[in-house]
């Protein structure tokens, strides 16, 4: 989670309005669904990486995201490798498991490639999120969602949720440390006993967070949160030149990639029939 929190910087991406970046997120969904192709998705991911660079997002975070998603990738390529219905080129097989005409114990090249393609679809969406969350302060996002008629209470749930994530980790570490300080030698415990210690941490963690949420509730109410008055916003949400340029680029590239796919383009026509 820490890898997608807002980082204050002065970059052209930071200076864009939240709505522009929300359009980018929506475009990512569109491309990943309607332009399922190695080259097209690859181009889109490259386009997103340009945003990363311009937005000053540490490229090292790509590694963190990829590491987190490694399990997902393995799952996709294993599942599709054995089950992809257009799989013909057998790379290896673990025996015979015939269902109809298909041997589900055979791992195919087409399945592997299709699994990789599905994973690229996931990457196309996941790589967009840091562009929104790491370059947009919550207040700007809240103001934009407010303008989009999203009830402020919903926005606030999201904002406070994001605020609580680091606190949960901090408290978790604090409680574990406190148990160590009372002689509980967690470091030397076998894994199964460690797991039971971690379970026992949940109760104080939840209690502490409940208490914290009460403090937060008081702080919110003391600032008239919940007032029936129509909320105003200090954040400017008017689009500027940079937003128009970015929007044109996003819409044009999305239209190009989706259009190419719609007109039958495929970088691997012999594999995905």
């Amino acid at each position: 989670m820490a890898s997608i929190e807002y980082v204050r910087k002065d970059t052209p991406v930071h200076n864009l309005q939240a709505i522009t970046k929300i359009v980018l997120v929506l475009a990512s969904f569109a491309v990943s669904f309607f332009a399922l192709d190695f080259v097209l998705l690859g181009l889109w991911i490259l386009f997103l990486l340009v945003w990363w660079v311009i937005g000053g997002i540490d490229i090292k975070r790509l590694g963190i995201i990829l590491k987190i998603l490694l399990g997902t990738y393995l799952f996709f390529v294993l599942l599709q490798g054995f089950t992809y219905r257009f799989g013909n080129t057998v790379l290896f097989q673990l025996g015979t498991l015939m269902v109809g005409n298909r041997n589900y114990a055979a791992y195919t090249l087409e399945g592997f490639l299709f699994g990789t393609l599905v994973f690229m679809r996931v990457l196309a969406v996941v790589f967009t999120l840091p562009i929104l969350t790491m370059t947009t302060p919550m207040t700007k996002l809240a103001a934009t969602l407010g303008k989009m008629k999203v009830p402020y209470q919903f926005t606030m749930i999201f904002v406070t949720g994001v605020r609580f994530v680091p606190l949960v980790f901090q408290t978790w570490t604090g409680v574990i440390q406190a148990q160590k300080l009372r002689g509980r030698d967690i470091d030397k415990m076998p894994l199964w006993r460690k797991a039971s210690v971690y379970t026992s941490v949940l109760t104080p963690l939840l209690l502490y967070l409940l208490k914290l949420s009460q403090t937060l509730q008081l702080a919110l109410e003391c600032r008239a949160f919940g007032s029936p008055a129509k909320r105003s916003y200090v954040e400017e949400t008017r689009l500027r030149a940079g937003d128009y340029i970015a929007l044109v680029a996003v819409i044009a590239i999305t239209a190009l990639l989706v259009g190419l796919k719609a007109t039958g383009y495929s970088s691997t026509p012999h594999l995905f029939i």
Partner: protein, 502 residues
Amino acid sequence: MVAGINVADHPVYELAEKISFVTQDPEGQLINPDVLMEVAFGPENLGVPRDEIMRRAKRALESVGLQGLESRSPTELSGGQKQRLVLAAGLSMEPQLLVLDEPTSQLDPIGSAEVLDSLVHLKEKYEMTTILTTHATEEVLRIADRTIVLSKGEIVAEGSPREVFSKVKLLDSVGVQVPQMAMLGYKIAPDKPTAMTIDEGKRLVGEVLQNKQFRAKRAQVLSSTSQAGEVVLDCVDLSYTYPGPPPFEALKNINLEIHRGEMVAIIGQNGSGKTTLVKQFLKLLKPTKGQVLFKGKDIQALTTGQLAASIGLALQNPDEQLFTISCKKEVEFGLRNLKLPEEEIKSRVDEALGFVGLQEQWDTFPFRLSFGDRRSLTVAAVIAMRPEVIVMDEPTTAQDYHGRHRIARLGKRLNEKGHTVIMITHDMNLVTQYADRTIVMANGTVLLDGPTSKVFSEVETLKKAFIKPPPIATLDEELKPLGIPQGILTVDGMVNALAEAT
């Protein structure tokens, strides 16, 4: 009734337009990612037009001295700045009444001074009505027009600070600390008008002394210095950098020895490296450079759990340190890890709870205790394990006068029994009264280290760490021309010195 309305009949968001409420924990009250948004949040909720919000935000930030920091993240601010930001966020609602619940209890001396200066400014410039609850009576003396003393839900004294703080016996009986000058006046000249300021204290001492003089042999530093025993903790070129982003060097080449049987106070501004240092003693943080030795052995070979049997550490936030269903079980937890026999466990639990005054609440769920009592319980859990070294990080925060001294006396008693006691605190009265040795930290380095009386005589160096000696030390310094012994840090020390004059 507040500001003409019955509070019971109105929701909090309506009251918020008339009353601004600031609690003791600034962290829990900050919601937004930057200073301007924090201040604008309340008026936004009320639907105040943008231009008006900007005007109010500007005024509120100027009132608390935070102008120019609009785009900063609240997480980047110091403790004092955070609390002033909470204050500004309330002021932007343009309330009629400002209510502050122990706003300085978690702040260092400079942070407290910043908040109090802001309150004085608000009072002088805007005639803002302010209600402040606090245990810090020296603060009250400085800023309040009227003082109310509450005990067990009843008003027991009311009037100007001068009137109220003259009632020394009453205040003492209800656990309110009497300002040092008032206490000194009460002890040396009970029939005379109560002294409140250092100048008044000086005049009073002058009158008491009249033509009496001090014998030359007494003109020396009075406080004791500790005897250096075996080195139990040794920091060698110790550095620690928090990884960030951005990285922050919290400790810079610390070389420090703690000897067996010492009673040491570590003081310094928030963020000076005090807590980071003591966390190194138990390997809660791994040094970036250098090492920590416990009785000559590098602690890296041991786990925190193993070290805990010899070094006890009660950290600042009690809510992260309490994890069982009763006070008794909380204290038992560590003892069971030490695999002590049942009888021994029972006896130590009773003793530890008794030490901190929680014997009656042995079956209470820890989260139901007051903040001060939760802190005391964490201390009880540590001392029950009887470690050789006891480290207490801000054990007296949010405690009343009696609670603070009970914990400090407990530390002293354990020290007298042979334990090495290290205490981090912002309470200079406790430091001067109980610590033999004081370490002053600033910007990750040790600025001063020595016998407490000697450290507090280094007034100019202390200023660099934003530490203000207690009033009695300043009075002692100012009475130097009268030949009074130097190095006096407590009221009793001053009373004894004056009694020596002939």
